[in-house]
Amino acid sequence: MVRGQPLIAVDRISFQVGEGEVFGLLGPNGAGKTTTLRMVMGLLEPDEGFVEIEGLRTDHHASLIRHRLGLISTNDGVYPWLSVREMLMYFADLYAVDVEVAKQRLEELSDLLGIRSFLDQRCSTLSTGQKQRVTLARGLMHDPPVMLLDEPTRGLDVVGSQTVFEFIELLKKRGKSVVLSTHRLDEAERVCDRFGLLHHGTVRYEGRLEDLRALTGKTHLVDMFIDLIRSDQEQKIEPSVAGAS
């Protein structure tokens, strides 16, 4: 579970995500979504601020935090010369998961994500869809309480995207806190519980869909965003309205 201590990333960004909740970090390309996630991962050191997970802070327990985070991103690849099983067990080792526990989890995930039939195949022989499912399983090998999804559907077809949505549902059911970064606003509307609208490195709006509707007077996220970008283009510099954290 994530307790919402203030996170100052990119430029005064702060949000909190609860157990079983999906938070959508939304914004056009270059808005600062990936940078924000990098800071959460501890790959980038923020000048100020921190992330807190289960009472642990990135500035003091960077390594322990990483044990509690899972990351799945657009560019995720597989090891062509390893079998699916070898690759997943490798990541279990990287997360220092006990071998027996890892084997058990692999069994469980094989059924859950439907990868059992090609567990011992080399990754280079897999289809795109199969690779995608392997990547999703990889993110869960250490059973992290928090899952970061960085543009997970970019470049995927309808079937692929559907797999991701099902995966997010699965995460929710398991009580994971999910941060989903995407520029596909329609998708976000479908799966996210709360949203942070990121633009030029700052969170412009943050809250549930109803909150945002009330705040902006628009029904859809897409309209809200177009409004936001237009206002920006018209040089109407609005005061940064950050959602309450």
Binding site: R66, G77, V78, Y79, Y95, A96
Partner: protein, 745 residues
């Protein structure tokens, strides 16, 4: 970090990297196919090139004999005709003498044909034919050195002697000059000698008495520096082996770093809690393994090629490529693989794609190839200084192993410095590997790595130690060597050494620590007084005094043990006592005794104690304590302490390693238990002071103490010193708190 070293996890991580490399067809091609193809092809090419130029005489080409003028040439021709006549009379019927048609030898402009009788190659038997040349425009000596001639022959007196049957025969006095070390020239000398011997035998037979003086008197002189043509060619093989080892390492190095990024697995891997050093270490192990496998495959293939064909002997002399040389060269290739793999990983960690990695590596390979080609030059000596030049040192050492015995000091320097460079390169690689900047695309990671840290820290990390050692070792090596070669008086030499110790082991580490923001007090254990965590003040005082008493006892007792260990090792043949080797002990002690003892004490006991304790028990021990248990930290720091003491001026004193290691262990224990550098400085000063005090006495005085053999201490002294050291350790144990119950700082 600990969780990655336990339960075989590191092994499994390495295994993953190895699987990835070894399942890749491209790795397998370099590993297996290349050696199978390269050596036979290389062998064929070299065989044509080398066997033609270096090997013994071919049966078609006549040896070129040079004479200073036409008269001499005619005399030599007459002597050779005597040989034919001897053969014609049936003295040696087995020798086949034929006349060959005229044959031009060498440059036409430098040879003239004296008369018709010498204008032919005279064939003595199927392996020896001579043609006579009078060099034009240069002396026979020059012509010989230039390689125009195979043999120069000068004629002394010529006499006629009557044979029994009324015939007469000339008596010649010849002086031959040949190029030593040149097989062709040597063979020409031997064949000419054989031919002349035939003349003598013939004449002896004619005169029916063996006591007749030989009709031809021969004198052979070698000219020129002995040039070993095999030495330069022997350099080819190590170069090929090293190049193949590099080739083996390049692909996995790129694949496991830049390839990881290109496949899109890098980010997921970096996002795990596994420390980057562990990730890199597992990749490093895989790259080194593939490189070593490649080296093994190449070594084996080259060994088979060279020992089955005649090439081995042509390249490496009569012994050829012996199995023993192979056994010696393999560890060198392993060390080289360890070094170059780290360099490759450091370079590739920078790259974001395969192409980029290749673009970085090509200049590196070319740059490293240039000095490597230098090793192919004939007569390049494996000198002390070349011992620390990366790549060149391993090449020259391999060459010397193949052709004969390598020099010990450069060999030692080569191995130790290469290992230290490898460690430093690995540290650099682990800092660059997966660096955020490389992931994000900026190129600042190099400068960031050498920037001053933002925060002050208590202890140095092992990376800092590795980088410092990689710079210190070669500098220390060169400087002590240069200092050893200067023609200084003993007093000046002592002061120079002391100054060098202060600069390299105190001043430079202090500057380095300042730059890297390491707190002096904790890094160099400068704490003076009761150890931290001693409890009440009175207990603290007792503990501090106890530590000092222990230090004095260790100093008083250890020198005899150190001396005895050194002596015993010398007796067993591990070098000789350095004093004996670098001159006569007596003379040195006499000179020593003329120097006031305070100078010796200051330069050989006090200053070394301060400087070495500062570095070895301060910086080195602290860096290890940061990462490993106190016990291991003491051991590792003592090992490094020992290695540095093996270099003794311009000589290598292997026998000093063990006693230095022992005293290093004691000093490390003292530093860890008392949490202070000062007791160790006390022990070190007393220890060195007493050892040098021994040199104040002459032989007669020493005999009173040491007995008639003047070699070992009486056993009662040895037992006494062991007891004193034991007492010192006991006092230390009882008086100081156990450091394992507290944090390293």
């Amino acid at each position: 970090m600990q969780e990655y070293f336990s339960k075989g996890r590191l092994g499994r991580l390495c295994l993953k990297e190895l699987r990835e490399s070894l399942r890749d067809r491209r790795t397998i091609i370099t590993l297996i196919l290349m050696p199978i193809l390269v050596y036979p092809l290389l062998s064929m090419a070299l065989q044509r090139l080398i066997l033609g130029t270096v090997s013994g005489p071919s049966d078609k080409q006549a040896y070129v004999l040079g004479a200073a003028d036409e008269t001499t040439a005619q005399v030599i021709a007459a002597a050779l005709r005597e040989t034919q006549r001897a053969a014609g009379e049936g003295i040696r019927p087995s020798i086949d003498i034929v006349r060959l048609p005229p044959r031009s030898v060498g440059d036409d402009s430098t040879s003239t044909e004296p008369d018709e009788s010498t204008n032919q190659a005279i064939r003595i038997h199927r392996d020896a034919a001579f043609s006579l040349v009078v060099p034009d425009g240069l002396s026979v000596g020059e012509a010989l050195r230039n390689g125009v001639l195979d043999l120069a022959v000068q004629v002394g007196t010529v006499q006629k002697r009557a044979l029994g049957d009324g015939r007469s025969s000339p008596v010649f006095d010849f002086e031959m000059e040949f190029r030593e070390g040149d097989p062709r020239s040597e063979a020409a000398m031997l064949e000419f000698r054989k031919a002349m011997q035939l003349v003598n035998d013939y004449q002896s037979a004619m005169l029916r008495g063996p006591s007749i003086p030989p009709a031809v008197q021969l004198l052979a002189t070698a000219v020129g520096q002995r040039m070993d043509p095999t030495a330069s060619l022997a350099g080819v093989l190590p170069l090929v082996l090293i190049l193949m080892t590099i080739t083996g390492a390049v692909y996995p190095a790129i694949d496991l770093t830049a390839g990881e990024r290109e496949r899109g697995t890098m980010e997921a891997m970096i996002a795990t809690p596994a420390p980057r050093f562990i990730l890199l270490l597992s990749k490093y192990v895989a790259v080194v393994t593939v490189a070593v496998l490649t080296a093994l495959a190449n070594l084996f293939a080259s060994w088979v090629t060279l020992s089955t064909g005649g090439l081995g002997k042509a390249l490496l002399g009569d012994r050829g490529f012996s199995f023993w040389a192979l056994v010696q060269i393999l560890p060198l290739l392993v060390i080289f693989a360890a070094f170059f793999s780290a360099i490759l990983l450091a370079m590739c960690s920078f790259a974001r794609s395969f192409k980029e990695a290749q673009a970085y590596l090509i200049p590196v390979m070319l740059v490293s190839l240039a000095p490597a080609l230098v090793t192919l030059m004939p007569n390049i000596e494996f000198s002390t200084l070349l011992g620390i030049v990366p790549l060149v040192n391993i090449l020259l050492l391999s060459r010397d192993i193949m052709t004969g015995a390598p020099a010990a000091l450069p060999a030692f320097a080569a191995v130790i410095s290469t290992l230290m460079y490898a460690a430093a390169a690995l540290v650099v690689a682990s800092r660059l590997f997966g660096a955020e900047s490389a992931t994000a695309g900026s190129q600042e990671s190099w400068s960031e790595m050498f920037q001053r840290p933002k925060k002050w820290r208590e202890l140095p990390d092992l990376g800092e130690l590795a980088i410092y050692l990689a710079f210190l070792f070669p500098i220390f090596f060169i400087v002590t060597n240069l200092a050893g070669q200067q023609n200084l008086s003993i007093a000046n030499r002592l002061w120079t050494n002391a100054a060098l110790l202060l600069i390299l082991f105190l001043l430079c580490p202090a500057c380095f620590a300042w730059y890297r923001k390491l707190r002096y007090r904790s890094t160099f254990l400068l704490h003076f007084g009761a150890p931290v965590g001693s409890g009440p003040a009175w207990l603290g005082a007792i503990r501090w005094v106890g530590g000092l008493v222990a230090a004095v006892l260790l100093g008083l007792g250890f020198w005899i043990i150190a001396y005895e260990v050194l002596k015993t090792l010398s007796d067993w043949g591990f070098g000789k006592l350095s004093l004996e080797r670098s001159g006569t002990l007596d003379q040195l002690t006499r000179e020593f005794r003329q120097i006031p003892f305070w100078i010796i004490f200051a330069t050989s006991a006090l200053i070394p104690a301060i400087a070495e304790e500062f570095f070895f028990r301060g910086f080195v021990l602290s860096a290890f304590r940061h990462r490993v248990s106190n016990g291991r930290a003491i051991l590792y720091s003592a090992l490094i302490f020992g290695v540095f003491h093996v270099i003794n001026g311009s000589t290598l004193s292997i026998e000093r390693f063990v006693p230095t290691l022992l005293i290093g262990l004691a000093l490390g224990l003292l530093a860890v238990r008392t949490r202070s550098l000062w007791p160790g400085i006390l022990t070190h000063t007393i220890h060195n002071g007493l050892l040098f005090w021994l040199t104040r006495f002459d032989k007669q005085e020493l005999e009173k103490w040491l007995g008639a053999d003047n070699e070992h201490f009486p056993w009662i002294w040895i037992v006494g010193s062991v007891l004193v050291v034991g007492a010192g350790l006991l006092v230390l144990w009882l008086s100081t708190p156990d450091p394992s119950h507290e944090s390293p700082t």
